[in-house]
């Protein structure tokens, strides 16, 4: 019974994957008793995109991901991943996604290779393909020489890499990375992103990322910020930054007060003089710099500061991205939910 129905669905999926979005969410809601964790999300992620999903803790981020991964059923609305419905075609969705969770999910008593083999078997990969694919994945994540070592002996960065390699083993169409670099040292983070970028090229994979790191959010093609169960804003990192404010050009001269008056008089821009210099606010900071010299000022230094994603995050959620605290929600249902 399963074999037949699943087969036709699979055909539908591969056929669709050329033009269908990797993820399509319509009016998604999830309630846990009185708590509404997700309240009406609509979202479409095209195939091949690196998509960032940001939000403070408890904003509905984890719940949405769990719904997309078929671990949680939505209360209302629909969601499709790789063209498959997350409620009606759970098994098909699972076949087409790779998951790297925040928390480790490796068996530390097994070797790297044993962990990968377990995954290959439980995902029903073709036996003839396994050895080749295993070598390829170990090579991608740079663990070939440690394949026969127990995971317990690995560093945090190596474990993460192995998890990513495992998530890719069955060639998923969509890779979910839930805080993939949390707790890693900067060097491991750089290495890890090198691998992810390489993978996106080699496997033309869609990546759905959640992160607290601004530099990682910057890498995304597009970002959605979710707060209190709703998407509050969606756009490219540059577009989002432009939406929250102007560039700040800080000019230092011999006489800042005088310079401030000259700039305010000569150019149409908002000017504030502080102890730190003359701050000029404008839409195009770099383009503004040459005009300073046209005014004949003796400039000692100029710095252009763009709004950061942190500013974006702050503007839309009232929290800072890197230390977004848990909201003061009733602890009971919340802690249960996040388990």
């Amino acid at each position: 019974m399963i074999g037949m129905s699943v087969h036709t669905l699979e055909d539908a999926g591969t056929e669709l994957s050329a033009g269908t979005p990797a993820i399509r969410i319509r009016g998604l809601e999830k309630r846990y008793g009185a708590l509404q964790a997700v309240r009406g999300i609509d979202l479409e992620v095209p195939s091949g995109e690196l998509f960032g999903f940001l939000g403070p803790n408890g904003a509905g981020k984890s719940t949405t991901i769990k719904i997309l991964c078929t671990l949680v059923r939505p209360t209302a609305g629909t969601a499709a991943v790789a063209g498959f419905d997350v409620v009606k075609q759970r098994t098909e969705v699972r076949r087409h996604i790779g998951l790297v969770f925040q928390e480790p999910t490796l068996d530390e008593y097994l070797t790297a290779e044993q962990n990968l083999r377990f995954h290959a078997e439980i995902y029903g990969m073709s036996r003839t393909l396994i050895p080749e694919r295993l070598d390829a994945v170990l090579d991608i994540v740079g663990l070939t020489d440690r394949r026969n070592d127990r995971v317990a002996t690995f560093s945090g960065g190596m474990k993460r890499r192995l998890e990513i390699g495992r998530g890719l083993l069955h060639s998923p169409r969509v890779l979910f990375l839930d805080e993939p670099t949390i707790g890693l040292d900067p060097q491991s983070r750089v290495t890890l992103w090198k691998y992810v970028d390489q993978l996106r090229v080699q496997e033309s994979i869609t990546v759905f990322l959640t992160t607290h790191y601004m530099d990682e959010a910057e890498r995304c093609d597009r970002i959605a910020i979710i707060d209190q169960g709703e998407i509050v804003v969606l756009g490219t990192p540059a577009g989002l930054k432009a939406s929250v404010g102007q560039d700040r050009v800080r000019v230092r001269t011999g006489d800042d007060a005088a310079a401030g008056e000259i700039i305010a008089g000569g150019l149409d821009a908002k000017v504030i003089v502080t102890d730190l210099g003359v701050d000029v606010f404008t839409d195009d900071g770099e383009g503004f710099v040459p005009r300073l010299f046209e005014l004949g000022l003796t400039v000692q230094s100029v710095t252009v500061t763009k709004p950061t994603l942190d500013d974006v995050f702050l503007a839309y959620t009232g929290n800072r991205i890197d230390d977004a605290p848990a909201r003061s929600l009733p602890p009971g249902p919340w802690s249960r939910m996040r388990r």
Partner: protein, 290 residues
Amino acid sequence: MTATSPVPELQVAPVLAPSQGVWHEVRAIKVVWKRDLIRFRNERARIFSSLMQPLLFLFVLGKGLAAVVPTTGGTDYSTFLFPGVLITGVMFTAVFSAISIVWDREFGFLREMLVAPVRRSSIVIGKCLGSATIATFQGIMILTLAGLAHIPYHPMLLAGGVVLTFLVAFTVTAFGLVLAVRVQSVQTVMPVMQLLLTPLMFLSGSLFPIGGNIPVWLAIVTKLNPLSYGVDATRTLFFSFLPPGATGGALVGGITWFGWLVPVWLSVAIVLVTGLVLLTVACFLFSKTE
């Protein structure tokens, strides 16, 4: 967008997890089973420490009590005790192996299994067979001590012993899984298991004969315990291989229902059916989690 990327080493492969129906589920069961065995092999300390309890029962409790238990029919108390020790030892190993699923939850590996494109029941069945196999290994190791309890190393006795051991291990594992799926924290599951296993062990007829002069309530409770039938079947099997004259006398009376002696095949069936029912319950509960 990848069309322009330079020389991809890997082809943009179709999803490498084709659907294979029932055969896929069988592979999932097998790999879950295999993982338990790999882990068991890697934990040699666990193998030997799990032999400690049976040895203590056999040579400390057995020899100690032999002094006060009147032996009849020419058999030693330790001969009577041996099948009970075998089953009890297997029981503890099976349950502690089954509840490793709670550790898997704690250390995250359970999630790797939960998101796999297989039925939850395949994971439970694989886990059940894995733990039962490990417990059977331990049973085989205890069986090698049979001679110390004056039990002959007859091939048929040993083969039957292994089969019965596996059967009991299977049922006890299924019981452990039902609890392990419900109880979610490592801190809770150990005391809960101890709390349930200890009475199951004492009320299984492994330490004293049920047919003997015991209070009625004790006899009733013991007869309600499915494990008693596993112990009884094993003991009946072992005693059938003892030299003529060593019949066990009053020590081996079998289990009776209102005077009717329960035959061995029925005892075996009771253990098996209990195991299958518990496994079904475990599968059902597990499919409801998360």
